[in-house]
């Protein structure tokens, strides 16, 4: 009985994973091939989405610059040359 539960759980998980990818794949249609109604629906929140993504990526870019600047000097100061 335990095996049945596990196997059913596995099938449910597999279906959920396939469904998630079907959903993603069907949404990510190149713009010139998507129906006009789909584009209109998609473009509603685009400027806001782009603004949020730009702020997020700018924050991450700043973090990476700090990492690049600080990493090697910090290694040399803390551990010296190997």
């Amino acid at each position: 009985m335990q095996d049945v539960l596990l196997l059913v759980g596995m099938i449910v998980a597999d279906i959920a994973i396939l469904a998630a990818w079907w959903f993603l794949g069907s949404r990510l249609v190149p713009a010139e091939q998507a129906p006009a109604s789909a584009n209109a629906e998609t473009e509603k929140g685009v400027p806001r989405l782009h603004k949020i993504l730009t702020y997020t990526c700018f924050f991450l870019l700043a973090g990476l610059i700090i990492e690049c600047v600080a990493m090697f000097p910090a290694i040399l100061v803390r551990f010296g040359w190997s």
Partner: protein, 230 residues
């Protein structure tokens, strides 16, 4: 009589195309220099200056309305490019130059700070460098496929090339695959890797900055692709 294969007249000569500017934005040279220097990690302190100058100049052109490339594309492209470089260069340092003083100093120093796999039994494995087999597998995947692809696609994306936008999408999906596998590897080996480093927050730091595909893919699939026409 009609001579079929007559010599071309002056009018038939192909018109010399107008000289294209080298880069989309004049400040892209600063941006490229900064990203490449920062991306080496070893020369990072020297790269921040041109990178910041480039970003400031690009921002000013956006404010003045003289920009060709959207500011969002500049930020996202620069972020992806520097992210690709800082993974490509240090990992290739470990792959090809693990016996050098510079390579060993940097890689084992990073290992002591953040990830024990880059420090414990260093240079003891068959391929040299990192001994951890899982790490070595991801390293080869990253050095030969994902990260160089990421760097070139980000630069082509910044130059508004059609293939740049396409390759950014492809490399983002590959990056997502790498992130999933790498996170699993780090989590499963946590006692030997993160727990032996000086900072226990390494896992969280890693997962914050490596989430780039999550932030970039939504942009790539909603952007007006007609702008990438070079």
């Amino acid at each position: 009589m009609v001579v079929k294969d007559s010599f071309p007249t002056a009018q038939a000569q192909p018109v010399e195309p107008a000289t294209k500017s080298r880069w989309v934005e004049p400040a892209d040279g600063w941006l490229a220099a900064g990203v490449f220097l920062c991306g080496t990690m070893l020369l990072g302190p020297f790269g921040a200056i041109p990178l910041i100058i480039g970003l400031v100049k690009l921002r000013r052109s956006v404010t003045a309305g003289t920009n060709v490339r959207p500011w969002a594309a500049t930020v996202i492209g620069a972020f992806c490019m520097i992210d690709g470089m800082i993974n490509f260069m240090p990992w290739s340092l470990d792959t090809f130059a693990h016996n050098t003083v510079l390579g060993e100093t940097f890689i084992t120093g990073y290992g002591r700070f953040f990830d024990g796999a880059f420090f414990i039994d260093y240079n003891q494995g068959a391929l040299g460098g990192v001994e951890n087999h899982t790490e070595k597998m991801w390293q080869f995947l990253a050095v030969f496929i994902v990260m160089p692809m990421r760097v070139v696609s980000a630069w082509a994306f910044l130059q508004m090339k059609t293939w740049g936008l396409h390759f950014m999408k492809v490399s983002s999906w590959l990056y997502l695959m790498l992130w999933t596998g790498y996170t699993m590897a780090l989590s499963l080996d946590f006692p030997e890797r993160m727990a032996t480093s000086e900072f226990g927050i390494g896992w969280w730091l890693f997962n914050l900055f490596y989430l780039s595909p999550m932030f970039v893919l939504p942009y790539l699939y909603t952007v007006d692709k007609r702008q990438w026409n070079r």
